[in-house]
Every structure is written in structure tokens, then in C-alpha cells.
């Protein structure tokens, strides 16, 4: 399989990995948000949702392993690209004109990505850990775990900020993936950009609304 790793390590191969893993994560986020929104229906609905996932635990575990692999590929490859690309211009410009020729979203993927990574670590070590590893009483409510965390002000605010940054990342990532796959068509490209921006806004607002809801509810 020498040709495969060689292809994937080429400049276009690395873009391709970013796009493929990125699109997978984009799809995952839709499912994740849809599930989370049961929080708005009420305690019972959310608990029921989490318990139904609990019932198919082996399947969920497989999904989690796949997801972890996708995340790792996306992150490792992104870090590699960042350092290689910096190395491609050893001497920087005195005047940086990039504001005039590109969007902030596209230029800050490494920075927004890094923040999302830190968020991911925090997210896993709190919610994922609480839901999966911590032993809780048989009648413990998952809903209450969420409630408790999001009534901690700094934690809720951190979530909201990270979700806005996630939106930045997704806004560029969405249309960028299509470009990488070679789907830049006169008729559809502008539509894809709009869908991407719409998607990014929905994700940012959707995920951020949860901590806001609980924080305000607790006040």
C-alpha cells in the first residue's frame, strides 16, 4: 500500500483527508445537536434519549471509536499542515495584506481548530465522563447532570464562546470540503457557500442555546 500513503501524504492527499474527516464530523454534529435538543422538551425526554443510547451501548462504542479515529486524523493532519505551511514561507512579510484577499474564517482554521480541540478535551472530561464512567445512583437523572454543569457560570460562558468559534471553523470548512473534492460548479458553488454558512450558524446557535437556556433558567 505504498502508493496509498504516498498519495495521502501529498499536498492534495492531505487536503483530501481534511475534507473527508471534516465532512464526517459535520454530519456527526447534526446528529449530536438533534439529540441534545431533547433537553428543551424536558427532563423526561432527554433521559429517555440517553437511556435509549445506553441500551445499544456496544454499537455506540464502535461509533465512538470510529469518531475518535476521525477526530485524530483531522487533528494530526491539521497540525502537520500548519507547520509545513508555515515552513513554506520562512521569511514573513513586513506588511500583511491578507485581510484584502481572504476571509478571516479561512485564515484562522488552525487557531479556531486548536480552541475547539481544547474544548473537546474539556467536554469529554466533564459530560462524556459523567455520562459514561462515573457511577451514579440508579435514579440519577442525566438531565440534572447537564443542569448542574451549566449553572456554573464560567463553564456555560466557555461553552457559548467555544460554540461561536466552532461556527467560524465550520463556515470555512463546509465549502472548503466541496472545493477539495473538486465540486466547484458555476451553478452550485454559491449555493454550497450559503448552505455552509447556514449550517455553521445553526450549529453555533443550536449548541450555544443549551448552556444559555440552563444558565438563564438557573438565575
Amino acid at each position: 500500500m505504498g502508493w496509498l500513503s504516498e498519495s495521502l501524504n501529498s499536498s492534495i492527499g492531505k487536503k483530501f483527508i481534511m475534507a473527508l474527516t471534516g465532512i464526517s464530523l459535520i454530519l456527526f454534529l447534526i446528529v449530536h445537536l438533534a439529540g441534545n435538543l431533547t433537553l428543551f422538551i424536558g427532563e423526561e425526554a432527554f433521559n429517555l434519549y440517553v437511556e435509549s443510547l445506553d441500551k445499544i451501548k456496544p454499537f455506540i462504542r464502535v461509533i465512538e471509536v470510529v469518531l475518535a479515529a476521525i477526530f485524530i486524523f483531522h487533528i494530526v493532519n491539521g497540525i502537520k499542515l500548519y507547520f509545513e505551511n508555515r515552513g513554506a514561507r520562512p521569511e514573513k512579510y513586513a506588511v500583511n495584506g491578507s485581510r484584502k484577499n481572504s476571509t478571516l474564517f479561512s485564515r484562522t482554521m488552525a487557531q479556531t481548530g486548536s480552541i475547539i480541540f481544547i474544548f473537546l478535551v474539556i467536554h469529554l472530561s466533564t459530560f462524556w465522563k459523567a455520562f459514561n464512567l462515573d457511577t451514579h445512583a440508579a435514579d440519577a437523572s442525566y438531565y440534572n447532570i447537564v443542569l448542574e454543569w451549566f449553572q456554573i457560570e464560567w463553564y456555560a460562558v466557555l461553552y457559548v464562546i467555544c460554540m461561536i468559534i466552532l461556527g467560524f471553523h465550520l463556515n470555512h470548512g463546509f465549502q472548503s470540503a466541496f472545493q477539495t473534492f473538486g465540486w466547484n460548479h458555476n451553478k452550485y458553488a454559491s449555493l454550497i457557500k450559503k448552505i455552509g454558512t447556514g449550517y455553521a450558524v445553526i450549529m453555533a446557535v443550536g449548541f450555544a442555546s443549551i448552556p444559555i437556556y440552563f444558565l438563564l433558567g438557573g438565575m
Binding site: 515552513g87 513586513a94 495584506g97
Partner: protein, 258 residues
């Protein structure tokens, strides 16, 4: 009518050789608003020479935007602030009285500075040698128009072929990626029937050499398209991505022949 003159403060990059450490040199100039950017540098060099100083090295040839030889980064933008023109087509009337202008060379690992503002862009030639051609066998001259090509396809190829190889795309890209240039050179053949026989080997060879030469990877910021003097579209990059992926997935060949 008297010529309108403007006074400018120039900060010009001076560097003695590829390994030397460069720095900006200040010059105050007074030029006609009608003169071109390169004429302004010519005048500066005249006065430098009159004073027994080393003139500023910069490149130019046609001075009408068709050869791709000129290329300066002016206030952070390759070919200056006006879209879709080369440095030689830029006029001083676009600058304001008293303005400071930073003049830098194209900066990229693959484009080492030779002296001052002149950089070595032979990396582009190396990429072209790798596959930027169509092989034509000798023999009878084929009839013109023997192969019917739809007008819009011909126009698409022509748009890609308008690339003058100036390197501004590399200079503009935050990753110093050469994707716009290479994709233009791949596309000008990829859309035409004459380019089909070598279509999938060409893209693999050119990308391979591009990567080896130390250009960065594209992250779709599209700064290249915004700064390209010929308005080459990033659609060409999409096409090249697709052709490259297709080539890697579909071809039976494991090794590329040199």
C-alpha cells in the same frame, strides 16, 4: 497643464544575495502621478546610480502585463492594490500624497531571493518540465479544426491558459502554495481533447514535483484568485483536486514513470 507630482515614502527591501540578511531601506521620492510603478523605481535607480549607489534590483520585461516577469509585493499585496493587473500595469495615481509604500519581494521557500526584489522562480519551470505539455508526434500536419471543440470548452481552456506564470498566487497564499499556477497549467490541457492522453499522468507528475519543491499545501483561502493578475479561477484548483484523486484511485499503475 503641469504634471501632477506626488511625494511618497518608500520602504524598499534590500538583500544582497540568497543567504544574506535583508532589511528595508527608506527613500523619499517625488514622481508624476502618470508614471507607472516600475518607472518610479527606474527613476529611483537613476538617482541612486548618480550618487554612486547600488540600484535596486527588480525584474521586468514586457511592461504590459503579458510576460509575468515583474512581480512585487506592494503594501502586502502581490502586484499592488488594484485587482487583475501586473505590477508593471500599476500607476502612481492610485497612491496618495505622502503615502508610505512598502515594497517587498515575493516570499516563499521555493522562491529564494536572488537580490533585493528579484526572486528565483525557476521552480515553476521545473513543474512545467514534469508535465506541463502535450506530446505531439511528428508527421503530417493535422487539419485545423479537425476536432470539434465547443466554444465554451475552448474558452475555459483559454481562461486557464491566460496564466502568465508570475508567481503572485504563491506570494499571496499564506501557505505559499502553488496550486493556482499548477492547476491553471493542468486545466488548460485537461479540458481539451488534445490533453486527454496524458491527463491523469500529467496531474500526478506535476503535483509530485510541486510538493518536492517546497511549496505549501492549499487550504482554500482563495487569496491566490484575489491577487492573480489574470483572474485565474480557483475552479481550476477544484478540477485539479478531482483529477488527482481520480488518478490515484483509478489508475492501475503504482509507480509514476519519469
Amino acid at each position: 497643464m503641469a504634471e501632477k507630482m506626488i511625494n511618497l515614502k518608500l520602504k524598499v527591501w534590500r538583500q544582497n544575495g540568497p543567504k544574506a540578511v535583508g532589511a528595508f531601506e527608506d527613500h523619499d521620492v517625488s514622481v508624476s502621478a502618470d508614471s507607472s510603478f516600475l518607472e518610479m523605481l527606474d527613476e529611483l535607480n537613476d538617482s541612486l546610480e548618480r550618487n554612486g549607489k547600488d540600484p535596486v534590483v527588480f525584474e521586468s520585461d514586457c511592461r504590459e502585463g503579458i510576460c509575468g516577469t515583474c512581480g512585487l509585493v506592494i503594501n502586502g499585496q502581490p502586484h499592488g492594490p488594484i485587482p487583475k493587473i501586473a505590477t508593471c500595469q500599476l500607476h502612481m495615481r492610485h497612491f496618495t500624497e505622502g503615502q508610505t509604500i512598502w515594497i517587498e519581494p515575493f516570499r516563499a521557500k521555493a522562491f529564494p531571493v536572488l537580490k533585493d526584489l528579484a526572486v528565483d522562480r525557476s521552480a515553476f519551470d521545473t513543474i512545467m518540465h514534469a508535465g506541463g505539455y502535450v506530446s505531439v508526434n511528428t508527421g503530417g500536419v493535422p487539419d485545423a479544426n479537425a476536432i470539434a471543440i465547443p466554444k465554451d470548452v475552448a474558452a475555459e481552456a483559454f481562461d486557464a491558459a491566460a496564466c502568465i506564470g508570475c508567481g503572485a498566487c504563491v506570494a499571496a497564499c499564506k501557505n505559499a502554495s502553488a496550486m493556482l499556477f499548477v492547476s491553471a497549467k493542468v486545466s488548460q490541457f485537461a479540458v481539451l481533447p488534445q490533453g486527454q492522453p496524458e491527463r491523469y499522468t500529467r496531474v500526478q507528475k506535476m503535483v509530485k514535483v510541486m510538493d518536492e519543491l517546497g511549496f505549501g499545501s492549499c487550504t482554500n483561502t482563495y487569496a491566490c484568485e484575489a491577487e492573480c493578475p489574470k483572474g485565474i479561477s480557483v475552479k481550476n484548483i477544484a478540477r485539479m483536486n478531482k483529477d488527482y484523486i481520480k488518478a490515484k484511485v483509478k489508475t492501475e499503475k503504482i509507480e509514476l514513470e519519469a
